[in-house]
């Protein structure tokens, strides 16, 4: 559905997006994670035919990015929720949507039907005759989402849709995205929010100018090698610490009743660690393996890139 191959964007000497290759399947929610300036918005703008690519290829369905003849067809196929909502504040919610419905070449009946449907789904139907300028941030964001959907596109690009929203509004937007997922819409989601990405996205790409990693949230978590083993003891003493140091484990820290050790492969290393503690006269209360999270994976990849 969305495919890029070595997609690159340069602004003069600055490379904003460097050789990004990815594929987003139909009906998939794909999350693009990355720090500020990573190239997420630039990538979305290239895919929405708002700015040109410097090199590489990209296709949306059967249409090619960069081909002038295909640009209008691509823009007709997709919906965009930009990072700035950009509503006409002096126009009512209904008129904002109706205007875009006309620009997306919807018939009068399609516009009427879709405006009612999406405003009701987003809880804004009662506010349809209120000027958008009087809306709260969350309501504006929801209206911007409705605007992107007014022509019922199969593909939706969302650039930080929950940024600056309060938790309640964020939840409503996230639930709406999940509703769209059920409708088999393909969603390309730029976000800073790791928790949001983990909850919503089928797959995640971590971008920092280059695409650092791509996979399901679980795959990315597992891609970070190493775990931490936390062993609670009745009492930690020098004899136990000495025995552990002989095993040459990774980073080791301790307090009066706990030893924390970084391990690469807990299943292989933990029995030897426990054996060493018991051999040194220690009494083990519990052994816990703490796994890496998506946040660990993200931070590791971003730091490596930096």
């Amino acid at each position: 559905m969305i495919e890029t191959e070595n997609l690159t964007k340069k602004f003069g000497d600055l490379t904003a997006v460097d050789s990004v290759t990815l594929r987003v399947e139909e009906g998939e929610v794909f999350g693009f994670l990355g720090p500020n300036g990573a190239g997420k918005t630039t990538t979305v703008r290239m895919l929405c035919c708002l700015i040109s690519k410097s090199s590489g290829n990209a296709t949306i369905g059967d249409y090619e990015i960069g081909n002038e003849a295909d640009s209008l067809k691509i823009r007709k196929t997709i919906g965009l929720v930009p990072d700035n909502v950009g509503l006409y504040e002096d126009m009512t919610a209904y008129d904002n949507l109706d205007y875009y419905g006309k620009l997306y070449e919807c018939t009068a009946s399609q516009r009427k039907e879709n405006i009612e449907r999406f405003l009701k789904m987003l809880g804004l139907w009662d506010k349809r005759d209120v000027a958008a300028g009087a809306f709260s941030k969350g309501m504006k964001q929801k209206l911007a989402i409705a605007r992107a959907l007014i022509h019922d596109p199969q593909i939706l690009f969302m650039d930080e849709p929950t940024a600056n929203l309060d938790p309640e509004s964020s939840k409503i937007v996230r639930e709406f995205i999940l509703d769209l997922k059920k409708q088999k819409k393909t969603i390309f989601l730029n976000t800073h929010n790791l928790d949001e990405a983990q909850r919503i996205c089928d797959r995640i790409g971590i971008l920092n100018t280059k695409l650092m990693a791509i996979g399901t949230p679980q795959e990315l978590e597992q891609s970070v090698r190493g775990r931490t083993t936390v062993i609670r003891l009745e009492q930690v003493n020098d004899l136990i610490l000495g025995a552990l140091k002989k095993l040459s484990p990774g980073n080791l820290s301790s307090d009066a009743k706990k030893v924390t050790i970084d391990v690469v492969d807990p299943e292989k290393q933990n029995p030897a660690i426990v054996e060493a503690i018991v051999g040194a006269g220690g009494r083990v209360v519990s052994v816990t393996v703490v796994g890496s999270t998506l946040e660990d994976a993200y931070l590791k990849l971003v730091r490596e890139a930096a």
């Binding site: 700015i51 823009r75 930009p82 700035n84 509503l87 006409y88 504040e89 002096d90 205007y99 620009l103």
Partner: protein, 245 residues
């Protein structure tokens, strides 16, 4: 280019323009004020000097008439300047550019929205001006001075062309600049050439007769076509989206 798309954009902008009362009043006030002021000046000066001879009256009235070429060059500037820069300020340009609408359709829509108020206000003012002049001059001339071919040419050809040129200049300026005031100031320079023509006519360098007005109209039409090409060429989506802050 699909005119229907441009018309959608134009009607939205026109409605927005009507809602902005101060811009609306400014646009309408100038031609209305001048339309009453010119006949009033003529009437007052006529009384003081014991009356302008009937033979001099057409020359004086014609001197005022050319203002209906200058006025439509002034009125659209703030509206047209706001057209692109305003969208950028409101951050509404990105979703607009994401729709299946071409640059030409967007620019034409913006231009229509600035052109129509200017031309309607000019025609309204001109109608008042002609009626007042006729009421003042009928006694001396013995016939209704307006309508005549010269005013017809001014209102039907020169005034629209002046408005188009002003709109195009303002759109070019607003697509290149990032604040409304700068765009408006640059766009407003378009009234200068028309003022120059007017002054040249007044000091006798050229005669603003029907033949010369036709020549001026032809030149303006060519410039208008060139400026439309320039406006579409200077409207760069990428630059607007990535460089404007």
């Amino acid at each position: 280019m699909r005119l229907s798309k441009s018309w959608i954009i134009a009607t939205k902008d026109l409605k927005s323009f009507i809602r902005k009362r101060t811009v609306l009043y400014t646009a309408v006030l100038l031609p209305l004020l001048l339309s009453v002021l010119f006949p009033a000046i003529l009437e007052i000066s006529t009384r003081k000097s014991g009356g302008v001879p009937a033979a001099d009256l057409p020359g004086l009235v014609n001197a005022f008439a050319f203002f209906y070429v200058i006025i439509p060059a002034i009125i659209p500037t703030p509206i047209a300047s706001y057209s692109i820069v305003g969208e950028k300020i409101e951050k509404s340009l990105e979703p607009l550019l994401a729709t299946p609408t071409t640059d030409g359709e967007i620019l034409l829509g913006k231009s229509i929205a600035a052109f129509l108020p200017a031309i309607v206000a000019t025609y309204l003012g001109a109608a008042i001006f002609m009626a007042l002049i006729d009421s003042i001059s009928y006694g001396k001339l013995g016939y209704l001075y307006y309508p005549n071919w010269s005013m017809g040419l001014i209102l039907l050809v020169l005034a629209p062309l002046a408005a188009i040129l002003s709109v195009e200049m303002s759109v070019i300026a607003s697509a290149r600049l990032s604040d409304v005031r700068s765009a408006s100031q640059l766009g407003s320079l378009m009234f200068l050439p028309f003022t120059g023509i007017y002054l040249a006519g007044q000091i006798g360098l050229i005669s603003l007769d029907t033949n010369n007005l036709l020549i001026i109209a032809a030149v303006l039409a060519v410039i208008a076509l060139v400026l439309f090409r320039v406006s579409t060429a200077t409207f760069r989506r990428e630059e607007i989206l990535t460089k404007w802050k």
